[in-house]
Amino acid sequence: MKRIKTIEQRDLHKSAMTGGCGECQTSCQSACKTSCGVANQKCESRK
């Protein structure tokens, strides 16, 4: 596309089929301790 560049990323709709294993890190265990954000968590699914 000439005017639009889509950055490669995980499709959230598809992740509804394969996700939910719960193995990923709990957000607050890392560095923040006083806020919440999940965007920087890594997926640890083995599927």
Binding site: K5, T6, Q9, H13, A16, G19, C24, S27, C36, N40
Partner: protein, 459 residues
């Protein structure tokens, strides 16, 4: 839902529900903003009027752009619908698995930081240390409630956990024995003010701790303003060399230099750059959490200053990366291709369900920020969770439970925000901490911009 913004010369379009991020030019940016509310011909007329002197903007070009947008819409990568709400109902059912504990091994501290949300480590209660027996019970509780989860997390927290160091080591040794028997994998973290770090602490942590969080607020005068000992002496000179040695000895294992900024240092990027100049590369800087009446609380007037600071930070990170001296900032870390699935994005941090805090006496709370709020006591290690009504409230506390989040473009990045922040701001864990939302959205815009910049540089 689509969110559009311009930052650092980039035109960025975020499609909330698919998670798609598009870097576009000015014309496509304007066409997208009109796409859902205007006819194709109206858009063409308007764009031609808005770009009278641009040779690359003609009817054919605009139609081509509209076709691209239509294709992205068809592929669910633009204007995609939110189909995830039914998943949140399933999540509310999955509430009996616990996979992470914050172990308050020491409700005491060797520093006397006036801004401490834990009230100098005592959480408004008595000074106390967790016994090894209680720690063992916590490990057993976690294993027995973890169901089929393999990765289990334990954070040694306080107060200052190094004031109960021998117990920390005993708990780790016990958990390592149990993980073999139960086919689990423990990940330990330690959050410390650094005063008691020595070679033995570093060696042990480098063997056993997946992550260490080291509290440093930045410049000496900023750090020492709050982070004083009981004689009123600042701790900067004591902890910085220890943190430098510790960070260096991690050899690839994770650590974070974590600071707090307040109304007194709204120019907090200077503190972050100071941390980077000290040689630290994994950095986190959090807005202070306190009642608005505290003199160091962040104010509405601070907000535009903080927004600008986050932009300065993103631009400087980009510059330093180019110069070969990069550092990471916790809130700007976005893993777009291997990031969290939709379930994680809806459910959030898991406080009160899969994540619990344990006090030195073995009481269970939804997270470390609720410890001491007796109305939020869930139970204890002996009886387990007895306040199941409270646990159910936390289990249903997801992004779709908050009406204010429904129209927010960032909702699948923050999962509805922090329950403790919401409680402190509104008295209700189902509320929202609006100030925190505003900062979160600004940080997210900056984080996405950095990803776009990287992608553009790759070509």
């Amino acid at each position: 839902m689509v969110h559009q913004y311009q930052l650092n010369g980039y035109y960025i379009v975020v499609d909330t529900c698919s998670g798609s991020i598009h870097s576009v030019d000015d014309v496509a940016y304007d066409v997208i903003s009109l796409y859902e509310t205007h006819s194709e011909d109206e858009i063409i007329r308007k764009i031609l009027a808005d770009y009278p002197d641009r040779r690359d903007v003609n009817q054919e070009e605009i139609r081509e752009c509209q076709e691209d947008i239509q294709l992205l819409k068809k592929e669910n990568r633009l204007f995609s619908k939110d189909l995830f709400e039914p998943l949140s109902e399933n999540l509310a059912m999955k509430q009996d698995t616990v996979k992470a504990l914050c172990l308050h091994v020491a409700h005491t501290c060797n520093l006397n930081c006036s801004y401490c949300f834990a009230a100098q480590g005592k959480y408004h209660g008595e000074r106390d240390l967790m016994s090894f027996e209680t720690g063992k019970k916590a490990i057993d509780f976690l294993i027995s409630h973890s169901g089929d989860r393999h990765n289990l997390e334990v954070d040694f927290f306080g107060g200052e956990p190094l004031m109960n160091w021998e117990t920390v080591k005993e708990i780790v040794a016990y958990a390592r024995l149990r993980e073999k028997e139960e086919n689990k994998h423990f990940r330990f973290t330690l959050t410390t003010n650094g005063v008691l770090i020595d070679q033995e602490v570093m060696d042990f942590c480098n063997r056993e701790m997946d992550n260490v969080v080291l509290s440093l607020d930045g410049r000496k005068e900023v750090h020492d303003h709050f982070r004083k000992d009981y004689q009123g002496r600042g701790s900067y000179e004591k902890v910085v060399p220890l943190f430098q040695a510790f960070a260096q000895s991690r050899r690839g294992k994770s650590y974070y230099i974590r600071g707090t900024f307040t109304h007194h240092n709204t120019d907090f990027t200077k503190d972050i750059f100071h941390m980077a100049d000290l040689g630290f590369t994994e950095l986190s800087m959090e807005p202070v959490v306190c009642p608005p009446s505290d003199p160091y609380a962040l104010t509405q007037e601070d907000l535009p200053v903080l927004y600008e600071q986050y932009e300065i930070l993103a631009k400087e990170m980009k510059r330093r990366k180019k110069e070969g001296r990069p550092f990471t900032f916790y809130h700007y870390m976005l893993d777009l291709s291997h990031g969290p699935c939709i379930y994680k994005r809806i459910a959030g941090c898991g406080s009160g369900t899969e994540y619990l805090a344990v006090t030195p006496k073995g009481e269970l709370y939804p997270c470390h920020q609720f410890v001491g709020e007796t109305a939020y006591r869930l139970g204890d290690l002996e009886k387990g969770i007895v306040n199941s009504a409270l646990r159910d409230r936390f289990a249903s506390c997801n992004v779709y439970a908050r009406p204010q989040c429904r129209d927010c473009w960032a909702r699948l990045y923050c999962s509805g925000g922090c329950a403790a922040n919401a409680y402190h701001a509104t008295g209700d864990i189902g509320g929202i901490y609006e100030y925190g939302c505003q900062l979160f959205k600004k940080r997210l815009e900056c984080a996405i911009m950095l990803q776009v910049a990287e992608s553009e540089e790759e070509g």
